[in-house]
Amino acid sequence: MKRIGLFKIFLIMFIFIFLINDSFAQNSKVYFSIKGRKVSIVIGQDIVLFGLYIENNKDQFERFAWKNGHINDIAVDKNSNGKNIFLACGNGIMRSTDYGKNWKILTSWELTEALKVIIDPNNSNIIYTATAYGIWKTTDFGETWSKKVNGLKITSQTYTFCIDIHPSNSNKIFVGTADGVMVSSDGGETWKESGLQGREINDLKISPYDPNIILAATEDHGIYITKDGGKIWKQINMGLYSMTMYAVAFDPVSKGTIYCGGYKCGFAKSNDFGEKWEKYDNEIFDKDITKIAIDPNNSQVIYAGGMEWGLWKSIDGGKTFKCIAEADGKVSSIFISK
């Protein structure tokens, strides 16, 4: 009886641990890419250690994709359970339809320097890429692409560095350029200025709970927020140590909680839409943070990456961080799938 009791307890514990682990494994998967390392990159050098990394177990990553030192962004089709992955690369847009095993460059010589790629949340066949030469769009899952630059001024507005799509209105798209924010209300056919002209936009995110709230990180003027869909922008820099900001993020659960990272100023958090930023005296306090991603299933889990510092993870909402991969790598993108 005693033996059975112990066995039962052991079994229950085992199932409990298994479920916890399983829930982690199923609920989120981290993807990131390394674009450079502390050693210099010269065309022609062997750069085999760059590329796409996909989490295969908790905090363990496997290198996928081909040798490509110029992966700028990752997008995973949320309806494919990680099967369909798109990469924005210097060579164009790449796609895998088998969990990253095989890849194809979908685009021609005309579409290069792809800096961001994003899948329409309402239709996985529609994908946009922001490139150094403007916006391109596909409506057939990447088979064919067309350039969408009507209304973008050469060259500073065709230099598109970030893009986000309205969560419920797929025709509404915001783009961050070297000359402010541009908006399209017709699926990219035409573009209009939507504020911050004269500012170089390094990152732009639409709130997951109120699409009128948008954050923008700028090269020289810190962070801006709009709460009316891009009509009025407000600078929100109180508590920030740098005006050069690279990354912004919304907390998926807690309204009003936002995050940012920038040039030699680490990671900052605000609980009041940026009225005041809080900086933790942690391991990445003075590092260059260029990418931030929040686990959609647990907003205490935060990933940050930057210039030649590898991928860092926090499990306490940003209070402390730990380097979990590629400590000398320049993280060019982080993507977390649900």
Partner: protein, 595 residues
């Protein structure tokens, strides 16, 4: 028996006809090509596609060639610098390649991913290689190629870029223009494209563009040097110009310098020359004649384009106007207006004849300048890191002691033998508030005259340099640097060939009498100079250019305008002429006609 005699007779006639129809130029060219082949054929093992290519093509020492293929296909590296030699090796060598080695190479084109690169020469190598290798293996699906595209998709992609480049270059000019280094990576892919393209139109266009690029080079070739301004040049090649890759190409094409030392070791040998030597392409003799004729002075005016600008510019490829004055005793050339890039551009130089080995025979100035925004206009990187990123491979870019690189705060106006340079260094963008003149230690004379002129005598030229503001000297290994730090600054330079004036003394005394007007220079930055030929040149920093009172407009230059070559902007056509001979390169219609 009768049939055999007939066949021998026909072969004899063909040979006779071949020998008779070959000009002396072609004969001597073929001799050089054969010497390259012979040299490469006998080289021992090294991981070098070119020697394997020659060995396989000639059926000589096949085991070594196969050993090289083993090495080249084991853990390849080098991106497009691996891709084009590998494709050349396959195309030239496949007929003598055992099936298992063909398969090994084919596998490498599946497993190894060459990056496309980020500059025009990278794309030229990449797309030419992609075009030819996808043509070699038609009808194969995406799983057999490194990028997942089918043979047809790869072919179409490469063909599209190549046609785009040909059209752009023949309408608004080359971006990476006139580079003594990078020029080779246009010439070499075009040789391959010409040799192996199965599409007769592409083959003809490759022949046309190859002739175009080489003619563009050889019109400015002087005493084994690629003279004038260059889009890109490395510091080493500035002072050792006769060892540049394009100068070695000229030695191969023209035979003006030996390719080998008497003991058979390589001397002026361009390392891509096996690709040329195995090719059927022979440079049209008219171009070679132009290259060798420096009997009378002539002006070269050209339109080129800036490297792709991705932000902060109103145009993708702003225009660049280039000028060169080629004289029997020297050549002097500059970028009159615009600039293609800030990192490696060599904006102007005066070059003269060399009389001893490794002599420094060039004079120029630069404004040492770097700025993150400029780099951001070229590369999609964060501004705060971009200078460090560039410096990681182009180490001199942000250094005060740099010898290459353009500055938007350096303005030049050259008319034949006279150059005026102006510098406004007041901008916050200018970190090093100076311009620097590089006076070689190999000059025969460098003397500072109380008049303010610095008189110099070299092997074939006299030149006089007038700094408009005070200066100091610093000494380097090969040169004395004149450094002038006034923020409103400039110089006047006048050159005469030793055959154009009686003596150095006369040159000096006459120069001192020349009229220089620079009233209120610090306010208007305007200068007027009347030179030894009585020509008055007016120039201001804000763009006024006059010659003898008439406006001078570099932006109105033709695509090519010199006594030997004519081409209109947008024309896709070049007319090459020399003493009654004429060759028309018609890119649009893929025709090459002699008249």
């Amino acid at each position: 028996m009768k049939n055999r005699i007939f066949v021998l007779f026909v072969l004899f006639c063909i040979n006779i006809n071949f020998l008779v129809s070959q000009s002396d130029y072609e004969k001597s060219y073929r001799k050089r090509a054969d010497s390259v082949i012979e040299y490469y054929k006998k080289l021992p093992f090294r991981v070098d596609a070119f020697r394997a290519m020659v060995k396989l093509n000639k059926g000589y020492d096949i085991p070594t060639a196969l050993q090289i293929i083993d090495s080249l296909t084991y853990n390849p590296k080098g991106d497009m610098f691996w891709f084009y030699p590998a494709v050349a090796l396959y195309c030239y060598g496949k007929d003598n390649m055992p099936p298992e080695y063909k398969a090994k190479m084919r596998q490498a084109f599946k497993n190894y991913t060459p990056n496309r690169g980020d500059t025009e020469n990278h794309w030229m190598m990449y797309y030419t290689s992609l075009y030819l290798i996808s043509q070699e293996f038609p009808g194969e699906d995406g799983s057999t190629w490194f990028n997942g595209k089918t043979s047809e998709e790869n072919f179409k992609d490469a063909e599209g870029w190549l046609n785009f480049w040909m059209k752009t270059t023949s309408t608004i000019g080359q971006g990476e223009f006139d580079s003594p280094i990078y020029g080779i990576w246009y010439v070499t892919p075009l040789y391959l494209l010409y040799q192996f393209s199965k599409d007769p139109v592409m083959k003809k266009k490759a022949e046309i563009m190859l002739t175009w690029v080489i003619a563009d080079f050889l019109e400015e070739y002087y005493d084994s040097v690629y003279t004038g301004a260059h889009s890109r040049l490395y510091p080493y090649d500035i002072f050792v110009k006769r060892k540049s890759q394009m100068s070695f190409l000229a030695a191969y094409l023209l035979g003006d310098r030996p390719l080998f030392y008497p003991d058979g070791s390589p001397y002026n040998l361009q390392y891509n020359s096996p690709i040329y030597a195995l090719s059927d392409y022979v440079l049209p003799e008219i171009v070679a004649k132009i290259a060798k004729d420096r009997s009378t002075p002539y002006e070269v005016k050209e339109i080129k384009r800036s490297r792709n600008r991705i932000r902060y510019y109103d145009e993708r490829n702003p225009v660049v106007a280039k000028y060169n004055y080629v004289n029997p005793d020297y050549a002097m050339g500059c970028v009159q207006t615009g600039w293609t890039e800030e990192i490696l551009q060599h904006t102007w130089s005066l070059d003269w004849k060399s009389v001893k080995k490794d002599e420094v025979t060039t004079f120029f100035t630069i404004q040492p300048y770097y700025f993150a925004d400029d780099m951001c206009s070229l590369f999609p990187e964060y501004k705060k890191y971009i200078v460090a990123g560039v410096v990681s491979s182009k180490t001199e870019y942000d250094k005060e002691t740099k010898v290459v690189g353009s500055s938007p705060f350096e303005k030049l106006f050259q008319y034949k033998n006279t150059m005026i340079g102006l510098y406004d260094l007041t901008s916050e963008r200018v970190k090093y508030k100076e311009y620097v003149g590089f006076f070689p230690k190999d000059l025969l004379v460098r003397e500072e005259d109380p008049s303010g002129w610095i008189f110099c005598k070299a092997n074939s030229v006299y030149f006089a340099f007038l700094p408009l503001k005070p200066y100091s000297w610093a000494e380097d290994k090969d040169v004395f640097r004149l450094i002038s730090t006034d923020q409103k600054n400039g110089f006047i330079l006048e050159v005469k060939g030793v055959n154009e004036i009686k003596s150095f003394e006369e040159f000096k005394s006459r120069i001192k009498k020349n009229k220089v007007i620079k009233t209120n220079f610090d306010k208007n930055m305007k200068i007027s100079y009347t030179n030894l030929d009585g020509i008055t040149i007016e120039f201001s920093y804000d763009g006024l250019r006059k010659v003898n009172g008439k406006d001078y407009l570099p932006l109105k230059y033709k695509l090519f305008d010199n006594p030997f070559m004519q081409a209109e902007v947008g024309g896709e056509k070049m007319i090459i002429q020399y003493k009654g001979e004429k060759l028309i390169l018609d890119v649009k219609n893929a025709q090459m006609n002699y008249k």
